[in-house]
């Protein structure tokens, strides 16, 4: 048995990891977790409804028809029944989705951007700027969020625009705190000190290194906050300070429906379920996002 020893040195088999596009990895991860998937589907459904709402709606949500007042669900063509003005509840819930989506997204956009800027400034530049900004944050946190929104709304008046303003005023604080702590953590990381050592300018560092790393926490926090804002809007509208009738919004549908709790239960049931499903969807997706993108960051 002759054994010949080839004089070949082998390099390790190059295990090529295909450079998967981000989108493919995103979906492959998503498919693996059914909660994330459910959350994602609910959000997509919500977006779809809020964009194409008025075309897919069986009845005109504003059309008052007193002959068909307070019909229980499933009666003459009204899937979820009608309200005290004879308007189709199913259609109003669909239109209501738009209000919640608009409120959720715009508030997160405004509060997110403002909060992030403050967070970066106070986290990165420190000094007295940081102290002042953090005192402002403390002041605002010295007051329960929902109450602050109520007070502001009661004062600047109700309506879609005002509720977004008050939610944003109340909501930016959480972004500032989380982003600030992220920036503080990033500053200490070796690769930042390394950049400083190689003479990269402070703002250069900020944009080239710090900002990209903030992308994940911002996305995660935004998705988690949307749920809080939607529920906050519903609560404020329920108390009569938020979106005013006749505009169909889940909050004020509950407000109008609460007087009929005895005779027509469906007035308060379905809008509540709509809010719950929306918040559930957004939270599920937010949690999944947090667990996959950045396990350590505990959602506030």
């Amino acid at each position: 048995m002759t054994v010949n020893i080839p004089k070949v040195t082998h390099t390790t088999q190059a295990i090529k990891v295909k450079k998967q596009s981000a989108v493919v990895t995103f979906f492959s991860n998503l498919l693996r977790s059914w909660t994330g998937m459910v959350g994602f589907l609910i959000m997509i459904l919500l977006l779809f409804i809020s964009i194409f709402g008025q075309w897919i709606v069986p009845y005109d949500p504003l059309l008052a028809d007193f002959s068909k007042k307070l019909l229980p669900p499933m009666t003459d063509g009204h899937l979820l029944g009608t309200d005290q003005l004879g308007r189709d509840i199913f259609s109003r819930i669909i239109l209501g989705a738009r209000v919640s989506v608009i409120i959720g997204l715009t508030t997160v956009l405004i509060a997110g951007t403002f909060g992030t800027i403050v967070g970066i400034i106070s986290g990165y530049f420190r000094g007295w700027v940081d102290v002042i900004l953090m005192r402002i944050v403390d002041v605002q946190l010295s007051f329960p969020f929902i109450l602050l929104v109520l007070v502001i709304n009661a004062i600047i008046g109700s309506g879609l625009r005002n509720i977004i303003i008050s939610l944003a005023i109340g909501g930016w604080v959480i972004f500032a705190r989380v982003i600030r702590s992220e920036v503080l953590a990033l500053r200490e990381k070796e690769f930042i000190t390394a950049c400083v050592a190689t003479g990269v300018s402070r703002t250069g560092i900020l944009f080239k290194h710090i900002l990209p790393n903030l992308f994940t926490p911002i996305i995660i926090l935004s998705s988690l906050q949307i749920g809080t804002y939607i529920i906050a809007e519903a609560s404020v509208s329920f108390l009569g300070f938020g979106v005013q009738p006749p505009e169909p919004a889940w909050g004020n549908m509950l407000n109008e429906g609460k007087d009929y709790i005895f005779s027509s239960w469906w007035l308060i049931t379905f809008p509540g379920i709509a809010i719950m499903i929306t918040a559930l969807g957004v939270n599920l997706f937010g949690d999944w996002l947090r667990d996959t993108l950045d396990p350590e960051l505990k959602g506030e």
């Binding site: 048995m1 002759t2 054994v3 020893i5 040195t9 082998h10 390099t11 390790t12 088999q13 295990i15």
Partner: protein
Amino acid sequence: MSDKVLQVNDLRIRFRNGKETSQPIRGVNFHVKKGETLGIVGESGCGKSVTSLSVMGLLPIKTSEIVSGEILFNNRDISRLKEKEYRKLRGNEISMIFQEPMTSLNPVFTIGEQLSEPLRQHKKMSKSEIRNNIIAVLKQVGLPRAEQIIDEYPHQLSGGMRQRVMISLALLCHPKLMIADEPTTALDVTIQAQILELLKEIKVKNEMSLMLITHDLSVVAEMCDRVVVMYAGEVVEEAEVNELFDRPLHPYTQGLMKSLPSNNERKSKLFSIDGQVPKPSEIGEGCVFANRCPFAFEKCFAETPPAFNRGKHISKCWLQDPAVKEVMQNEERSIVNS
């Protein structure tokens, strides 16, 4: 067999993480004789810590599973003991100290509270007896003012002192076997020497056998009687310590030896083995070191080498195969660093 405190035969462990499973330990064999110090050496990720945890039964129940093989402690297979049974051993007959002294002690409990646990679990003792016992052991490991330390919190002690506390925790019940998983890695050099000295002394005084896990060959040289070299979940070489240092048989061990900075002459470039340790999921048939071995030939890739022994010196490499050996002789090549 009788003089062997611990006997591990063909141990295979599988980890399940979500859908994928991996086998960090693929057939490990070694033993520890009474009063002996066995060194387990290998790069990080070679499975030495998993092995030590499996001996202590500390592997996570949900995600790990001992597929086959057995762990004999005083000739009794403890690999599949029920939790209640295993608990009787832990800290009593087998004890363990860990690498990170800074995090291995509970920050919100005093040293005394934590050290009383093994005694409370395994020995019937009154409070005062426990206290005196602890103070005695703390003194034994060379901790000054033991009486104060017993009521202090971990954050009040230095790294070295905490490791001494860990050692005393492991000694309280006079175990037959102590496992030390990289006990000095996290400490700075001066303290390292003291702790190693302490371990040697204690082993002798308590007629204990010691299983020392490390990646540092100088520690092995200093402390161990016999050495087991592990690579990617397998034992690739086992030998008496001087035998191993004089004539390493397995190319991986040779590589390890060469990368040791010998202190007498300065080498321009430290020798390092190129490539990395393959992930458990990537290991195919053939010798596990094949893809990094300078002498590898197709047989190495085709078939897993069995364990060849030269007296007590065992190694798993086709080069030890007598058939291959002759061919080697006439080509007489020595390892030249490239």
